[in-house]
Amino acid sequence: MEREHLKLVIVGHVDHGKSTLIGRLFYDTDSLPREKLEEVRQICEALGRELEFAFVMDHLEEERSQGITIDTAQTFFKTAKRDYVIIDAPGHREFTKNMITGASQAEAAILIVDVSEGVQEQTRRHAYILSMLGLKQVIVVLNKMDLVGYSEEVFEKVRGHTLDFLKRIGINPTYVIPISAREGDNVASRSERMPWYTGPTILEALDTFKKTERRDGGPLRFAVQDVYNIEGKRIIVGRVEAGTLRRGDKIVILPTGERTRVKSIEEFMREGVEEAPPGKSTGITLEDKLFVDRGQILCRLEEETPKMVSEVKGSIFWMSSEPLQVGESVIFKCSTQEAPCRVEAIERRIDSSTLEVIEESSSRLENREVGEVTLSFASPVIVEDFNVTPELGRFVIEKEGNISGGGIITRLEG
């Protein structure tokens, strides 16, 4: 049987030790390929330094960015209970998109804070995104305890400040753990240097979390990416965003509303595939020759289908120095759909670091601000409330060719 896996996102200020923690998690759970580790150890030695996890992560990232290794083992670490998949690769360039799509797929989050620096602006922004996405299983780790002499007093002080802030945005972390990612304290094994701490290690804490993703994935949502003609077969390639796709399913194509059946599920070098689970990218063929194109959504006929709407309301996190302005046209991207839209209204404009409401109704959203934004479309889009089907309820906004913000859909209209 396939092992259970839980999707985890690690967020926090860029200097607070995210890479080191990820490296440490891989290392202590023996999830790193040995020869890679040896290679990095040798280079560190050549440079006259100790093996540091930041270097290990650099190495893995570079290989990944060049497509040298697409080895799934590298994105997993394992405990006796299950596998963990880290969805947010550190150092990713498309930061906004990554935070929104990454964090919205996560079932649990670790928020990392440097105990010697406390909560910083970036910590606040990341925490805000977690709260916006409604993540409930959250661990706060106060890192770099080695720099403050493993002091209980310092820990308690920073813990207090952090919890105060998180409370204001509605996050109630399940655990707050004092750690040193560099030294390995309380990550996989209990620290002898902090006898005053009696709570779980990070791994123990993670293992208490529940899998929140629906096993069968709820109603079917198959997003079309492309259509190919291969050896006389018309293959529709896409991703099972939600639900489970089965051969023989009666389906309806949105937005055209045409109906047909799934004739086959096509996978490379495999015959007679019966189903495709949620999250799977695959190809299918249909009984009838119908018009199918990128951006369309295939749903099961007997299930509730998503709405086609010409106006949506969403919480948007804006992350570009070019502001989002009422009246302008931008590109809305949700799953494989891409649609031009007009910004109709911006309400409850909030500074994500101070949480101060700047204006109840505004004409613009500046960098690092959050707002309730109304968007209208010339032709309807297929979307859902984020709390119902997250896969069709999260989106990013592209302005002048750049991904500049992202958010979740909170209301559908028209």
Partner: protein
């Protein structure tokens, strides 16, 4: 007190890509070396320390003799300081034997046809460069503790290793991270400066035709390498 971290072949675009925050400091950019016919290490550092374009003079020495250049202390801006410390700088006081050995192994590598032996030469070449880097680092950190009014450390590792390994991005990134870490350990006013950058030629690296600069005190725009004499003296001594 001002510290110059002189890094051979530190490439602007890689510092950006790897997002090395300490190398970038508060202000950073490219230097303009378009006045020189080619980005040559010896020419550029000699011009840096004297504040004058020394290309004609250095090239007149010929390909071999050029590497033995030793510009007299009084001709350099270091002489404006009471107690300066300059570590391993080409054209001034760098370890001739070390750099001769590097060039020799480099030549051997390109002349060798057998792949197996080529790898062995590269291993030796890398080992030699890394050993030197470790020694330079140690002496540089000692100097930071010393009683100097000016410290300059010259680091050749990115250039030397880059020539034979520029295509190995993860190795280059680790070297950049090590250099980034060195800069983070320097206190007070500091300038990071490279003579030229590096561009990929297959798996190898060749010099690119601009250098890199960064400071933690002001924006320098697009300076020429000969401007640094004035910048350093102004910042350190108010001259």
């Amino acid at each position: 007190m001002i510290t110059v971290i002189a890094i051979d072949a530190l490439e602007y675009t890689l510092v950006e890509e790897f997002n090395m925050r300490n190398l970038k400091q508060d202000y950073y950019g490219r230097t303009d070396i378009s006045e020189f016919s080619e980005p040559r290490t010896m020419v550029l550092w000699s011009s840096f320390m004297t504040g004058e374009n020394r290309e004609a003079e250095i090239l007149a020495k010929g390909d071999k003799e050029m590497w033995n250049t030793r510009i007299p202390h009084e001709e350099t801006f270091f002489s404006h300081f009471k107690n300066p410390f300059v570590l391993d700088l080409p054209g001034y006081n760098y370890d001739l034997e070390q750099h001769r050995r590097e060039r020799e192994l480099l030549k051997e590598f390109f002349e060798e046809k057998d792949e197996e032996r080529k790898r062995e030469v590269r291993r030796k070449y890398n080992e030699n460069a890394f050993a030197h880097h470790r020694r330079v680092k140690e002496r540089f950190f000692e100097a930071l503790e010393g009683d100097y009014d000016f410290v300059l450390g010259y680091f050749s590792v990115a250039d030397v290793i880059g020539h034979l390994n520029f295509g190995n991005r993860s190795l280059m990134k680790m070297i950049y991270r090590d250099l980034d870490d060195i800069v983070s350990r320097v206190e007070g006013k500091k300038i990071v400066l490279s003579d030229h950058g590096m561009k990929a030629v297959g798996a190898f690296g060749d010099h690119s035709d601009y250098g890199f600069w960064s400071t933690n005190f002001r924006d320098l725009g697009r300076p020429r390498i000969t401007d640094f004499k004035r910048i350093v003296l102004q910042e350190a001594l108010g001259e």
